[in-house]
Homo-oligomer: 303 residues x 2
């Protein structure tokens, strides 16, 4: 089982209180694909410029990510630079240069239209819908978005949500999208637009999942040193979707486990810059941390 | 089994986006005692002024709270007024008038020195230590504090912590007290000063408990409408200590359950102004919400 993901591949420059890096591998599609690749096959649809370093392509290929849909276009690769303060909670964007990403129109390579699992990373909601039109009969569609689209393309976004099973966004975006400060009411409103499941990412506070009939709360793995939060959300989504694709089980029980696997993957990513931690990560470490989150949350019922 | 609590009894004026109230019953000792009274006996040591309305005394007595230690002093009752914005996360204090609380020196009535469970609400750490000196051989001592004492009486506070088993503070206070932005490292530092358990209150994000060898994460009960967060922390502490005193079991298993009971009690308090929700609350509702939090957190292990 493999997942089709459409997103960005970028070169990031990041400053944190603990160090800085220039033009390292980044992008939503990159983080997602790499995390998902620990669980299932991944097909990445994205665009890079002529300047994209071969070593990064080699790394993605080494994760068995199908790169048939990774277009190379004339011009420069998408670049993002940002800075984090000591609280590490929010990135302050210093510069965004879309470059080749500006005119990116995702076209699925032959065979990709049969994808069962689709993840639409944070891109223009019109492009997200355009991708969905190219996919025949997906079993599960999940997507992300951001304040930029909520503010600038609300109607297109709400239309896209009508075709999405799982929306994975952060807490601030949830409130902004629903225009309600209360998360429970905000979730109910968003679910009424189409998604059967809303997964709300809360950074170091973990994840809240909402369905029509239930709520699930998962903690973030408590880390003693967070190095760089860049990509945590996309890594979460990758682990989440990767696990679901590996089990092909879409029960709530399975979705809850997938959320914990997503949290585990995110907890590793933030331990180093870029995808560095992913480069040495072993599956046994993932299971070990899953077990630790289980212990972290357990308490005796009332009998 | 009963708990000795030393704290404040106040008349609060509160503005939230949903309404406002003037001179309603408040205070850390009041919220704590009322919440604890659903689980165990409580002895309240505090001071009120001559203007303290009899109906409030009657309410506390109706909860079977032992008021032998509730002094009445010449002058006015402690008053606090505050305002909350839409996010309801932080109170903006408008005015604090200590009044009779300014010269409060807790003196334990005869018999109180045998207390097994002691909760020192947020008062001057020197007074907290003074109370502990009057208690013979407590089985469990827990305390709270705030930024005011962390900034102004750090040495006295750290000294008091050397005599405390469980410290219950909020997240910002944890970071400030340990002078470390990372919660895991901050917790380790605070535990090195004496407390065996640190309970970190994170408002709508729930609670993290740290011991030398483990971490426990409990979610807040997701509420569709939060009316007034005043007293949530003290109510949490009351439910937490009340449950522990009722079981007399101080195992980690029991402490984890106590944290969930504390969260349940806090979730009720914020549903109305002052202690209004406590006035109609039934024990069956507490158990029902405990069970819901259990369902909220459950996921399948790896086997």
């Amino acid at each position: 089982m493999s997942i089709l993901v459409v997103g960005s591949v970028a070169l990031d420059s990041v400053e944190t209180p603990f160090g800085e890096v220039e033009e390292v591998l980044g992008g939503s599609g990159t983080y997602f694909s790499t995390a998902a690749s620990f669980f299932s096959g991944v097909k990445l649809v994205a665009v890079v410029g002529e300047d994209f370093p071969g070593e990064h392509t080699e790394f993605l290929a080494s994760r068995d990510i199908d790169l048939t849909g990774l277009q190379s276009a004339p011009g420069e690769t998408f670049r993002w630079s940002g800075r984090y303060g000591y609280d590490l909670n929010e990135a302050h964007t210093l510069e965004t240069r879309l470059n080749v990403f500006e005119s990116f129109r995702p076209e699925l390579p032959s065979g990709y239209e049969d994808a069962d699992f689709v993840f639409l990373a944070n891109i223009d909601p019109e492009l997200q819908l355009d991708v969905l039109r190219q996919v025949k009969n997906p079993q599960l569609v999940a997507c992300d978005t951001m304040n930029f689209w909520i503010e600038g393309k609300r109607d297109a976004l709400v239309k896209t949500l009508g075709h999405v099973d799982i929306l994975i966004i952060n807490e601030g975006e949830t409130r902004q999208l629903a225009e309600d400060a209360n998360l429970v009411r905000a979730a109910r409103k968003i679910l009424s637009w189409g998604p059967k499941t809303l997964v709300v990412k809360r950074g170091e506070y973990g994840v809240l999942m909402f369905t029509e009939h239930s709520i699930f709360s998962a903690p973030a793995y408590p880390l003693e040193s967070v190095f760089d939060p860049t990509g945590a959300g996309d890594t979460f989504a990758g682990g989440f979707m990767g696990f679901l694709a590996s089990t092909r089980n879409l029960s709530e029980k399975s979705i809850r486990q997938a959320i914990v696997f997503g949290s585990v993957m995110a907890s590793f990513t933030v331990e180093d810059f870029s995808l560095n931690r992913m480069k040495t990560l072993e599956y046994a470490e993932i299971e070990e941390r899953f077990r630790k989150i289980k212990l972290l949350t357990e308490f005796e019922g009332l009998g």
